[in-house]
Every structure is written in structure tokens, then in C-alpha cells.
């Protein structure tokens, strides 16, 4: 069996292992995994109690990655995220020592990111973009792989600071976490509460480490993509900006189209999907699958769309239907 196939098998095992700790949410697990394999960050949007924190902690266990959780509140300071210099006294006197913040981990869960002030948000987002933290005149690199999973509550808008579009663009995926089905809910309750009030323990086995994850990323980045598929991706992104009469029905629902990062994100994520499915090439189905989480937060709907109740998913579906392969 080839080396790539071995890594593919490991990734499949990782996905299955994560699924042990999370009941249902197969899509969420798959998409989160794809983002990790692509080197991107994820914004999870869902109601509290849907297992977002458990998801990230389970991922951390499977990949043997360090995991930190940051609960964003309105009074959270940037230094609470990045770390700060503190005065330390020792035998030689006192001096400043940089105390690393919770961001110095492989996996960071930024819970309710929209509750923190823009200043604190920017501290996190800078780290996401640069993979470095700057405190004073010193820059500290973040350990690879570095992965941020941010969450936000879709209904609580009072006292929140919604992320601006420019900042949203830094998240590769925006994943909507839906309420589980009845069966899934039963499984969740059974898992946590158990029969007779006893929690059924779930042993999560570590399968891959950070180096292995980086190795997989390198394989993913090599997967070839045909010209026809590449053109398909480009057409998708271009159509979000097309206001011509030919695509009038789509154009009137989009106020602002996606940035070039969207095309890059689709390519990387589609490669990751092909890899996970054991293929060595990107297909149209891969592109269609990853387009939703990539574009969801990158297109700005117009007033017509809002007034008519048109959602981002509907617009994206229409775009995919309109483009010829």
C-alpha cells in the first residue's frame, strides 16, 4: 500500500474516532476535518449545548494536539488572549517575563467570539492570520499546526460585536451547527447520562499527532486539479460578482461578492475532501460540497434577499445550478 494510501487510512480512522465522541453531526466533523487538513480555521455558528466544545476537545485528543478554550466576554482583554509580560522576582532581582496566553496551543476554541470587543477579536484574528503573537516589541511564533475554532450564537445579538466582513474572511469555513435529530438526541443523552444515571465512558484513542497532520497537509496540497474543475471554481467565485442580465436573478440577491480568498479556500478544501475520500484528484462533487461552508460567510446578501427571505444557502445553490461544468 502506498504512503498516501496509508495516510488516507489514518485520516479515515481519525474521522471515525472523532465520531465516537460526537453523536451525529457527521457533516460538522467532516467539514472541521477538511478545514484542519487545509490549514484553515472554522467559525461554528450554533445554539449553546450542541457539542461545539466537545468537538474541539475530541479532535485534540485524536490528533494528540494541545487544546485551549477561551471564553470571550465583553471584558476580555487582548492580553488575556495573547499573554502579557509580568513582573517576576527571582534571586537576581525582578524583571519582566512573558506569560503566554491561551492562544499558545495547537487547537484553540474561541467561544462566543462575537461577545468580545473588536480589539480583543483583532488580537485573535491577527494570530490566526500570521500564526504569531506580538507583545510589545517581541513576536512569538505559534506552534504548528495551529487551528482556531470560533463559535458564535446566532440569536443573541444584544451586547455583541459582530465580526466585520473583513474579519470573517479569515475563517475558511463557516459551519452551521443544527439541532440534532431525535435519534441523535437520544444518543447524546444516553452517552452523557447513561442508564441508571451512569455516564458511559467513551475512550478516544489518539491516532495522529501534529507532525503527522502536517505531513498529511503536504500531501493534500499536491493533489492535482483538472483545468475544467479549476475553471468551475473560478466561475463560482466570479458569478458572485456578476450583475449582468443573464444572471439577474442571482445578482440582485448579492450585495457584495466573495473575495479571492474564497477561490483559494475552495481549492484547498476540495483537495482535502478528495484526499479524505481516497482519491488523487479533485472532482466537481468535492467543489460543490465545500462551496457552501466557504461562501456562506463571504457573500453579503442584499436587501432584496433579506426582505424575500432568501438565505445564503439558496443563493449558493442557485449559483451552482447556473454554472456549466
Amino acid at each position: 500500500m502506498g504512503e498516501m494510501e496509508q495516510w488516507q487510512q489514518l485520516i479515515m480512522q481519525c474521522e471515525a474516532e472523532i465520531g465516537k465522541g460526537i453523536i451525529g453531526q457527521k457533516d460538522i466533523i467532516r467539514q472541521t476535518l477538511l478545514a484542519m487538513l487545509s490549514g484553515g480555521n472554522v467559525l461554528l455558528e450554533g445554539m449553546p449545548g450542541l457539542g461545539k466544545t466537545r468537538l474541539v476537545s475530541t479532535i485534540g485528543q485524536v490528533f494528540r494536539l494541545s487544546f485551549k478554550r477561551i471564553q470571550f466576554t465583553p471584558d476580555l482583554m487582548p492580553s488575556d488572549v495573547t499573554g502579557t509580560n509580568i513582573i517576576v522576582k527571582d534571586n537576581q532581582g525582578s524583571g519582566f517575563q512573558f506569560e503566554r496566553g491561551p492562544i499558545f496551543a495547537n487547537l484553540v476554541l474561541a467561544d462566543e467570539i462575537n461577545r468580545a470587543t473588536p480589539k480583543t477579536q483583532s488580537a485573535l484574528l491577527e494570530a490566526m492570520q500570521e500564526h504569531t503573537v506580538t507583545v510589545g516589541n517581541e513576536s512569538y511564533g505559534l506552534e504548528e499546526p495551529f487551528f482556531v475554532l470560533a463559535t458564535q450564537n446566532p440569536i443573541e445579538q444584544e451586547g455583541t460585536y459582530p465580526l466585520p466582513e473583513a474579519q470573517l474572511d479569515r475563517f475558511m469555513f463557516k459551519i452551521k451547527v443544527n439541532f440534532p435529530s431525535r435519534e441523535e438526541l437520544y444518543g447524546i443523552v444516553n452517552l452523557t447520562e447513561g442508564i441508571g444515571g451512569e455516564t458511559i465512558p467513551v475512550a478516544i484513542q489518539p491516532i495522529l499527532d501534529g507532525a503527522g497532520l502536517l505531513k498529511v497537509r503536504s500531501f493534500v496540497s499536491q493533489i492535482p486539479i483538472a483545468d475544467a474543475v479549476m475553471n468551475y471554481i473560478l466561475n463560482i467565485v466570479m458569478m458572485t460578482h456578476d450583475k449582468s442580465a443573464h444572471y439577474q436573478e442571482i445578482g440582485r440577491f448579492i450585495k457584495e461578492g466573495a473575495s479571492p480568498r474564497a477561490a483559494q479556500a475552495i481549492v484547498r478544501a476540495a483537495r482535502a475532501k478528495a484526499f479524505v475520500e481516497g482519491r488523487y484528484n479533485v472532482s466537481f462533487e468535492d467543489v460543490n460540497y465545500v462551496t457552501f461552508p466557504v461562501l456562506r460567510h463571504r457573500i453579503l446578501l442584499s436587501f432584496d434577499a433579506v426582505s424575500e427571505g432568501v438565505t445564503e444557502e439558496q443563493v449558493i445553490a442557485e449559483i451552482l445550478k447556473s454554472i456549466e461544468k
Binding site: 500531501f219 493533489i223 475544467a228 488523487y280 484528484n281
Partner: protein, 471 residues
């Protein structure tokens, strides 16, 4: 696994795709061509158009050619064919492998191997489905059948078109003939001729040019309402042309005779060429031969005057002779030697009878009676009475009455009768009388004279037949 297997597989599939594309485009373009052809055929049912069938066939052929051209332009590439194969569940393995078939490297080889393996396992599931729009095919078939049916439907307009076309062809033939004659006349070396002869040659060419223009007008069909009008116009133009040919031949014969006397063989030959083009044989240099033998078109028109050997090659010695008609028995009989003017006329009492022919005012009335009439020695080509002393007119009313008391007709106040070429053909000073009224009058007078026994016995049938043929 051999990567060429994949390329060959894609090629075969591409051929099938392009063939289907060819059929699809041809159905569309041939349907369009058939629609245009049907429109043309329907139009031809009402508006005369001779070449409509050719146009219809051309439309269909253009449709077919357009289908071929469009197929070539829009033919599928190998990449498209590979993508089409991928639709059978290969998830773009084939197109990716095809595009990277020449690239080396681990991942490319893995991908090629993966694609080839899948293709080998599932190649039987890859079947090209020939899809054709039955609606388009039906439409194309209906239009083709309708075009054929309409093409076969007869109509007045089609008949008219056919007749017009034939007339146009006839006019074109005459035009070609006239052009040849003019060309032959151009070849005559006028330097060898005297001034009068050169002027005559120029006059001949001018006259023929007018006929040519007339034929062109007929051929183009301008100002001619229908085929009947065209036919009548053509007929009249032919009559005028034949008369001119006679005139020209006579004049050329005279010139040729003079040239022969002057031993100018070259010019004589050139004149002979011109006569040949008109269908005349000039034997002016031979006194023992037939003068003015018009052998063009209708051998009936051989009216040999100036020669005591009369030949009526038609085999009817009692008719035709004297009519001097080339191609048209009706017209020239008026001006030519009438029945009995030829050698037969000599035998059957030419005396005085020439007056019939000469009733139309032909000079040469001296051909009657005591005149030999024939000895004009001028090679009367079916007309004329053999005298060189008078000008001959097509139809003219003489200023003076003839000597023969049986000459009837109207006189004018004019003392001279001369003709000149104006416009096309002939016009003359004096009173113009419509031909149809003149001929009716003459015909009636001839019949009255017959009843009164004014003509020699044996001539009655000839005279009756002669005037009867003009009605």
C-alpha cells in the same frame, strides 16, 4: 497498465460524440435549408421563377454544408470527451489523468494508476447514448417532404416561367449569333474597301447592334408583362433580324463579288465568314450557282432569284417559293418574291404576277411581265425581284403607282420613298400604315382578284395558301 489505453478510449468516445454532434447540427441546418427551399417553392407557385428547383436544391446543400462546418467548429475536444466519460462515475479521474498524462511525479502516477484501474474495471459501463431531438428530426422530415411535394405541384406560374426561360434561351442564342456576325464583320478589312462599302459595313454593324440590344431587352424580360408578350416581342425581333440578315447578305454578296473581281481573296473570305455566321452561302463569284441562297433556319426559305434554276428544297414547288422566308413564312413573303417569282414563276406565268409580291411596293416591279425579274443578278435572298434599279423597302407605299394596273394600294403625297435605319431596323418617311391593316387589305384584294379571275390559272391555290398562312 498502458496509459495509451486511456487515450485510445477517449479518442473512440470522442468520435462517437462528434458523430452525434454532426447529426444534430445537420438536422438543424438541413431543416433551415428545407424551410428556405419550401418558401422558395411556395413563392414559385405564384411568381414565375424558372430556377426555383435549383435554388431549393442549393438551399438544402447549403444546409448540409453548414451542418458540416458547424460540426467542425464546435467539435468536441479530447478534454470534453474525457469529461463526458467521467460522468459515468469516475469523479473526474479521467480528465485529470488525461491532462497530466505527461507529468512525472509520485502523486501524478498515483492518480493515473487510479484512473486507469477504474477505467479498466468499468469500461463496459461507459456507453455513448445517442440523443436526438425527435421534434427537430420530425420537423426536418416534414419540411423536406413538403418541399418535394410543392416542387411537384404544377402551376400557371411554373408554366409561365418555363416558357419565359425557353424564350430567353432563344433570345440568348440569337444574341450569340448576332455577336458572332458582328465579330465577323469586324474582321473584314475595311482598308480594302471603298468608302461606300466601308460605310455599308458600319451600317450593318450598327443595325445588328440595335438588334442585339433588342434581344437583350427581350432576354432580360423588362417591360414584358408575360410570356405571351415576350414571345410576340421575340417573334417580331426575329423577323426584323431575318430581314436584316437578308439585306446584309445581299450587300455583302455584292461587295464580295466586287472583291472577287479585284482578286482580293482575303476580303472575300472574310465576307464569306460573315455570311456563314448568318447562315448564308455567298457564291457570288460563281455565275452558275445560286445567288442569294438562304439556307438558314428554314430550308423552305430558299428562294432563288436571279437564277433560272429554282430550287424548292421543301419539295413543294408550288408553295414556299417566292416567299423567301428564312425562318418565318409569314413576314417576308410580303416582301419577297411572291409565288411564281422563281423559276417556277417563269413557268407559271410570272408575267404580271409579280405584282402581287410587288403590290407591297417592292421595287422590282419590273420583274413582272416581260421582265425576267430574276436577272437581278444580285442574289436576291428570297426577296426582291431581281432588278437592281430600285431600292427595296420592307413595307413602303410608293410615291408612284406601279405600271401594273392590278397594283392596288394607297398612295401618299410623298413622291419619294426611301428607308433609313432608325432606332432598330427600319423606318421610312411617308405615311406609316400599320402592318396588320395593310396585310388584311392586301389579302382581301387578293381574294377579290382571284374571284375576278385576274390571276393566271394554276396560281389560285398558291395565292390562297400564301395569304391564308398570314392569318
Amino acid at each position: 497498465m498502458n496509459p495509451s489505453f486511456m487515450v485510445d478510449f477517449i479518442k473512440k468516445y470522442r468520435r462517437k460524440m462528434n458523430f452525434a454532434l454532426f447529426i444534430e447540427w445537420c438536422v438543424i441546418t438541413v431543416a433551415i435549408g428545407a424551410g428556405a427551399a419550401l418558401a422558395a417553392e411556395l413563392t414559385a407557385l405564384i411568381i414565375p421563377f424558372y430556377y426555383v428547383n435549383s435554388i431549393a436544391v442549393l438551399c438544402l446543400l447549403l444546409g448540409l454544408v453548414s451542418g458540416v462546418v458547424l460540426t467542425i467548429r464546435k467539435r468536441y475536444s479530447m478534454g470534453k470527451a474525457a469529461l463526458a466519460i467521467d460522468e459515468f462515475g469516475f469523479s473526474e479521474r479521467i480528465i485529470t489523468a488525461y491532462e497530466n498524462r505527461d507529468k512525472e511525479g509520485g502523486i501524478y502516477e498515483f492518480q493515473r494508476e487510479d484512473a486507469l484501474r477504474m477505467l479498466c474495471q468499468n469500461k463496459d459501463t461507459v456507453r455513448f447514448r445517442f440523443k436526438i431531438s425527435y421534434y427537430r428530426l420530425s420537423l426536418c422530415s416534414v419540411l423536406l417532404i413538403a418541399t418535394i411535394v410543392v416542387a411537384l405541384i404544377p402551376s400557371k406560374a411554373k408554366t409561365e416561367a418555363s416558357v419565359r426561360h425557353q424564350l430567353q434561351m432563344s433570345a440568348q442564342e440569337k444574341m450569340d449569333e448576332i455577336e458572332e456576325v458582328i465579330e465577323a464583320l469586324d474582321e473584314i478589312d475595311v482598308d480594302e474597301l471603298d468608302e461606300q462599302q466601308a460605310t455599308q459595313i458600319e451600317g450593318m454593324k450598327d443595325s445588328l447592334m440595335m438588334s442585339l440590344e433588342e434581344m437583350e431587352g427581350i432576354q432580360s424580360g423588362e417591360d414584358l408583362a408575360d410570356a405571351n408578350a415576350m414571345e410576340n416581342a421575340l417573334e417580331q425581333a426575329r423577323e426584323r433580324l431575318d430581314y436584316k440578315y437578308d439585306e446584309i447578305a445581299e450587300q455583302l454578296s455584292d461587295i464580295s463579288a466586287e472583291m472577287a473581281e479585284n482578286m482580293d481573296v482575303a476580303t472575300t473570305q472574310e465576307i464569306q465568314n460573315a455570311l456563314d455566321k448568318m447562315g448564308y452561302q455567298d457564291v457570288a463569284g460563281d455565275p452558275n450557282s445560286q445567288n442569294g441562297q438562304n439556307v438558314s433556319d428554314n430550308q423552305v426559305s430558299q428562294n432563288i432569284s436571279g437564277n433560272q434554276i429554282s430550287q424548292n428544297v421543301v419539295g413543294n414547288p408550288n408553295s414556299q417559293n417566292g416567299q423567301g422566308i428564312s425562318g418565318n413564312q409569314v413576314s417576308q413573303g410580303v416582301s419577297g418574291n411572291q409565288a411564281g417569282q422563281t423559276g417556277e414563276g417563269n413557268m407559271t406565268g410570272q408575267d404580271g404576277q409579280d405584282g402581287q409580291g410587288n403590290m407591297t411596293g417592292q421595287s422590282g416591279q419590273n420583274g413582272q411581265g416581260n421582265q425576267n425579274g430574276q436577272n437581278g443578278g444580285e442574289g436576291n435572298n428570297g426577296r426582291g425581284t431581281g432588278t437592281a434599279d430600285f431600292e427595296r423597302d420592307y413595307v413602303s407605299i410608293p410615291g408612284e403607282l406601279g405600271q401594273d394596273e392590278s397594283l392596288h394600294g394607297q398612295s401618299t403625297q410623298n413622291s419619294d420613298s426611301e428607308y433609313y435605319r432608325d432606332q432598330n431596323g427600319l423606318a421610312w418617311e411617308g405615311e406609316h400604315v400599320d402592318y396588320n391593316s395593310v396585310i388584311m387589305e392586301y389579302s382581301n384584294q387578293a381574294m377579290e382578284s382571284l374571284e375576278q379571275g385576274r390571276y393566271p390559272s394554276g396560281m389560285e391555290d398558291i395565292i390562297k395558301e400564301y395569304f391564308g398562312s398570314m392569318n
